[in-house]
């Protein structure tokens, strides 16, 4: 067990952990309040919807697929809620309608990918455009606000101590998905299919059902994240969450999940989330502009793709010296 943990630390997760420590130490030097509860909560809150969706995206990518439509589903969900609410539907029912739109989007994606066999890249790219279109038709460019106070409070105020509902959902999902991915039958099948879809099929694995489950879950989580985002902002627009899908995928890949499927784990993605949150926050403290921040994260992403190869080269050299 300990040996396995060490082996893992020598790999990409170890690198992320080291990076995280460096970033946190530098940030603490900048600001003595850095590790204060308030700042940490704030740190999470700024990107909370993205990191919630990233957890589900981890399963999708390990399964060898991709879901580009998540940000559009977030926008659509929020817009369905806003539109229904403005039309006089009580807010709880409007939220339910928003979640139903997420289920529908997931079923559409899953149908074309799992049962028709189209590539998820193409299907969810179409979804990215289509669901965004629905959002824009419903709400257009005028913001819809004036929600009941309890709704805004849900997005902005601590529910359990300082923890907001979003953060609680994130933590719960991290625990549950960690258990599913690394302990449950579904997680096992996610890896097997991601490794070798044909071998899974030849073993009698219900490949279609697994893929359908994942895409519906992904869209439902995105729809929920859209509502949380609306609650945090207090208003909804048609272009809400636009472009988030790339940040979300970046988080997952930086966490050491292979874009080809079959490998990666939730711990790596958790570390990747912490690295990105702290890096952005730290660069903000150091007055580095948003564009530069994005470039730095881009460079990190390239490093994450190169790292396994570099690590392997070093490992082979090291072994060569021993013998």
């Amino acid at each position: 067990m300990i040996a396995a943990a060490f082996a893992r630390l020598r790999g990409w997760e170890g690198l992320l952990l080291a990076l995280l420590v460096v970033i946190v130490v530098v940030n603490m030097a900048h600001s003595p309040y850095y590790l204060g509860v308030g700042n940490i909560i704030n740190l999470f809150q700024l990107e909370i919807e993205k990191i919630i969706v990233a957890l589900m995206m981890t399963l999708i990518i390990i399964n060898g697929e991709i879901d580009l439509s998540v940000a559009s589903v977030m926008g659509m969900s929020a817009c369905v809620m806003a539109w229904s609410f403005r039309a006089g539907v009580p807010l709880p029912w409007a939220m339910l309608a928003a979640m139903a739109s997420g289920v529908a989007a997931g079923l559409i994606n899953g149908f074309w990918i799992a049962y028709v066999g189209l590539p998820s890249l193409a299907v969810t790219l179409a979804g990215l455009i289509g669901y965004r279109g629905v959002a824009r038709i419903l709400v257009q460019d005028r913001a819809i606000g004036d929600y009941p106070g309890w709704f805004n409070a849900l997005g902005q105020q601590g529910l359990v101590g300082p923890l907001t509902l979003s953060i609680i959902i994130f933590l719960a999902m991290f625990a549950v998905l960690g258990l599913v991915l690394h302990g449950a039958a579904l997680g096992r099948l996610v890896y097997v299919i991601g490794n070798n879809l044909q071998a899974a099929r030849y073993s009698g694995v219900r490949v279609r059902r697994v893929k359908m489950t994942l895409f519906v879950a992904s869209a439902v989580v995105a729809a929920l994240a859209g509502l949380l985002y609306a609650a945090r902002l207090g208003s909804v627009r048609g272009d809400m969450a636009q472009g988030f899908e790339l940040d979300i995928i970046t988080i997952v890949l930086l966490g050491g999940v292979s874009i080809f499927g079959g490998s990666g784990n939730l711990l790596g993605v958790g570390l990747s989330i912490l690295v990105i949150l702290n890096l952005r926050n730290g660069m903000g403290l150091a007055d580095i502009t948003g564009n530069t921040q994005t470039s730095v994260i881009g460079a990190l992403l390239i490093l994450s793709v190169l790292a396994p190869n570099i690590a392997q080269a070093i490992h082979i050299r090291w072994k060569g010296r021993e013998t």
Partner: protein, 519 residues
Amino acid sequence: MEGAAVDRRSDAPAVNAPMLNLRDITKRFGATQALEGVSLTLRAGRVHALLGENGAGKSTLIKIMTGVHQPDHGEMLLAGRPLRLASAAEAQRHGIAAIYQEPLLFPDLNVAENIFISHQDRGAVTNWRQMFRRAEEILASLGVALDVRSPARGLTLAAQQSVEIAKAISLNVRVLIMDEPTASLSSHEVAQLFKLVRDLREKDVAILFVSHRMEEVFEIADDVTVFRDGRLISTRPRAEVTPQRAIADMVGREMGLLQPRSPAKLGEKLLSVRGLGRDGAFEDVSFDLRRGEVLGFAGLIGAGRTDVGLALFGIEPATSGQIVLDGRAVTIRSPRQAMALGIAYSSEDRRQLGLSLPMSIATNITLPVLSRYLNWLGLVRTGMERATAEAFRRRLAIRTPSVDIAVSKLSGGNQQKVMLSKWLNTHPALLILDEPTRGIDVGAKAEVHAIIGELAAEGIGIIMISSDLPEVLAMSDRVLVMREGRQMAVLDRDGADQESVMAAAMGQSTARQPSGAEA
């Protein structure tokens, strides 16, 4: 280019002069001796047929002649001059071309472009008019009527073969290798192709013709060479060979270490298949299988044996015929359904289809029946999983330090045992083994054979698909022989020998009538 053409004309070979000499060619791939001391002469204006079972070394020889592989030892002479080929492009420059069963055309380029695809001396600007004219000339010289401006997409296979041959002629072909060119052609198209081959022979091209169809070999060939296990067994003029003699040369191998399995006591009828077929793959396959029986499926690669297995396992469901299992008519549409009926299929392709290589031994073994290993929360009970894997590790003597290591780290033989474990763990009544000993060493092979014998003795009905003829004969109670998607014969243990099975696999009529499905 000009100079080369003139040069060729000046030393144009006399009829039947040696064109390509191979001397003592030897090639190893790892532990496999693919070719050993092969010496072969192809003569101008003669069609030389090459016969041999799958794995006899024909493909390796073709790859050496076309520069894809380089021999470990030995030399090649082209028209008397030493020849070293570093690449396929170099072979083409020397006038050595090959065409294959599936033509390798670019579907979106037109016929003329396909013909001249290997000419890289067209310059910066293509002279289309000249290219079309020359393409038409070449096709006309072949007596083929094709629109050189139309795209290759949509041409019939026979037309595509003609384009391949035109391509070879455009390269001033001196040696043409034809690797099973007729396998996908109708008999009318074969006749057309043979006319082209005869024309090329008139033009003093040396032709190597590889085919599994005995009647074609004896129709077109001037010389017949037989390969077996990487060695050249015989080369004779056609007039001195009979099909029976050629088959005897192909299979005349010692049975080696293989002990015939002592037949188990047969139980009641387990499976009855009548007129089974899948469009485009196989048709009209009928047989019975009893509990404890090993039914061997023999035939050449591509004969449709695996397709029958895939139909019974529901991966590629049958489109016609009946399957009766344990007295009940069943239709099998998915692997899940097949597994529920007690059918297991162990794939011929361990690495791509049979196993999930990066995952552990235990994970692979429990995969088809993972639901048995879940607790009330839906989590995998890893202890129970490991216990199962350990039990199989002992039972099948899987050599590994632990059942937790990745299957990719095991030898081929141990991977095969993991795959067997995986399917035995589903407690099958019918076990379909597709090439159960392909690519594993002799010791592991004997172990796998012993395991198959034990399973049959336990009353499992086994279908063993194998291209290893001695193995099929040693293990099977009966042998079903297939050829080109059709069932050719069902031979009893006493009636099956290497010659009779190979004769059926190659479409030679045997004295024995197919004993049919009635058992």
